[in-house]
Symmetry: C2
Subunit: 326 residues, 2 copies
């Protein structure tokens, strides 16, 4: 009902719409309409109301709601359904539970804040209000061994949208988005699969959008930042998020139609790792070399004195060679 | 309590154990002991009871119970916990739910019958009483892309145990166990993973052990059979199952210590596909060739007139070339 009222209001933003007309179009009482209007105002919608003329939508809140994100999104797949939270433990956990229950391909789970941010290898992640914490459920046709490349897809989609906002963001292999040496985004992709068939992939992405620099925990101060802190002003959250979702859709449809070639090409374009001298710090050994390329599997190819080495996204950390490693 | 009573009885199979002694050792009443004895008898345990002398275990049932499987199993990992059912929809579904709740590495879920057998690519599978339908939860350290080889592990473990029972069983790539041209076992491996870390793998295996040939549905009559039907006598189910679990443990520990080399070698030894002229029937195309080897990924290498082709376990079916393909 709330969404139907919003639809009517959005279709008539230049004029007032009488409570009677809305009530009769939706087949409910005027009192019910009045109650819904109060709820929408409480949710942050700016609605002018006039005793005689009725209601008029002045502005939607810059909040992550199915209505605000969906309005003008114009995607076919990504955002086929929205599940929105003010605060949730983990959008990935919610998305996995929904996927098990049969949630449709392209379902987006998003939250204003997360109480338990989860990064790769069970590392924790700072997820306060002001960011965008979301998970996309995909049910791709390709083999499970192709799934790691979904992480690259999210990285490219977010980096592209950040550049549009004026940030010189780039991708540190495999899945960190960095700007001015600080991390702005973390991506955690999970999947459920049979050996030759993906049940579902959940791409979890956390983006530090409008978060004051000072609110980051001390141990993150020199490692992480937010878009607003680096730009010096807040970013229009909904418009930015819509851009991210549209970019994801475009890349995903391209993969479905023509495979991963274009995605890998775009990833190379946004990479800040390629061409750099790096240290590869693994569980068993550490070595140095020059990051030359990623191969068709998304593995990093590192030129070492012993020849070209292929680095899979295991527990490996990549550091610029001239920096001191703690 | 039941398992503690069984432990005491098993430790004294050559003599009677008085109800009083059992009751005092376990700190419960003699009436309670009597009730448990009735339950054990109902579950199929043969227990001699004598008004003055007490109780003596004559024989355990050949039923899939934690006690019967665990007794003398002597494994460290596989069977670290047992969850046993008379009938269940799908041991894989049960195992996945348990794994999500944190079930330990090596947990075995087993059922006397399954109401919804699930094969690869959502094919259904006939799972009546008399078979062994089980799933093993593993939490391996290796990368998700290595997980498909867990299917090979189960295939080798089962084939080896079948040969010990006198059946000339062999493995048809990737995961069918065949004897006299008929399928005796199906394997479905599923996993939950991050891109670079396996959360858990569930290897589901269904073995047609003691199932009368006549009870197979008509459409399976010329495709599937059971161990008992081919041998002409029933197989001791528990002893056979223990063998399978011990084989799995040995192979798994070998993988953990030295990687997949030995497993692949054993798979080659039991393969009935290698060296054969085959048709590879895929979704997009069909081609013919000679199955030459499996590579380090477990992919089948097929020699064709256009050169060596690598076949992944997608929706591919392999048929002997001289047989008519429907």
């Amino acid at each position: 009902m709330r969404n139907k009222i919003l639809e009517l209001l959005r279709a008539n933003t230049s004029t007032y719409l009488s409570g009677e007309e809305i009530a009769s179009q939706l087949g409910v009482s005027r009192t019910a309409i009045w109650k819904h209007m109060q709820e929408l105002k409480n949710a942050g919608y700016e609605i002018a109301s006039h005793a005689r003329k009725g209601y008029q939508l002045i502005a939607a809140p810059d909040r992550l709601l199915a209505d605000t994100i969906g309005n003008g999104l114009n995607t076919k797949l990504i955002g086929s359904a929205f599940v929105c939270f003010d605060n949730v433990k983990s959008t990935n956990d919610e998305a996995k539970a929904l996927a098990r229950k049969g949630a449709v391909n392209g379902t987006v789970v998003v939250s204003e804040a997360q109480s338990v941010g989860k990064g790769r290898m069970e590392r924790s992640f700072f997820c306060p209000e002001g960011g965008i914490w979301f998970s996309v459920i995909l049910r791709p046709d390709f083999l499970p061994m192709e799934a790691p490349k979904c992480t690259l897809l999210a990285a490219v989609a977010v980096t592209k949208a950040m550049r549009k906002q004026g940030l010189e963001a780039g991708i540190k292999w495999p899945n960190d988005i960095i700007c001015q040496g600080k991390k702005l985004t973390g991506i955690l992709t999970e999947m459920s699969a049979e050996m030759d068939k993906i049940n579902y992939v959940v791409i979890g992405t956390g983006i530090n959008v409008n978060i004051p620099a000072a609110s980051f925990p001390e141990e993150l101060q020199d490692k992480a930042s937010s878009m607003s802190a680096l730009l010096g002003h807040d970013v229009p959250k909904i418009a930015f998020f819509q851009d991210v979702l549209r970019n994801m859709e475009k890349l995903y449809l391209e993969i479905e139609a023509n495979g991963f070639k274009e995605l890998l090409q775009q990833w190379r374009h946004y990479s800040i790792t390629l061409g750099q001298e790096i240290n590869v710090i693994g569980v068993k050994e550490t070595f140095s070399g020059i990051a030359r390329d990623i191969d068709d599997d998304g593995a990093l190819l590192v030129e070492t004195q012993q020849g070209l080495r292929k680095v899979l996204a295991g527990d490996v950390s990549i550091r610029p060679r001239n920096k001191q490693v703690k």
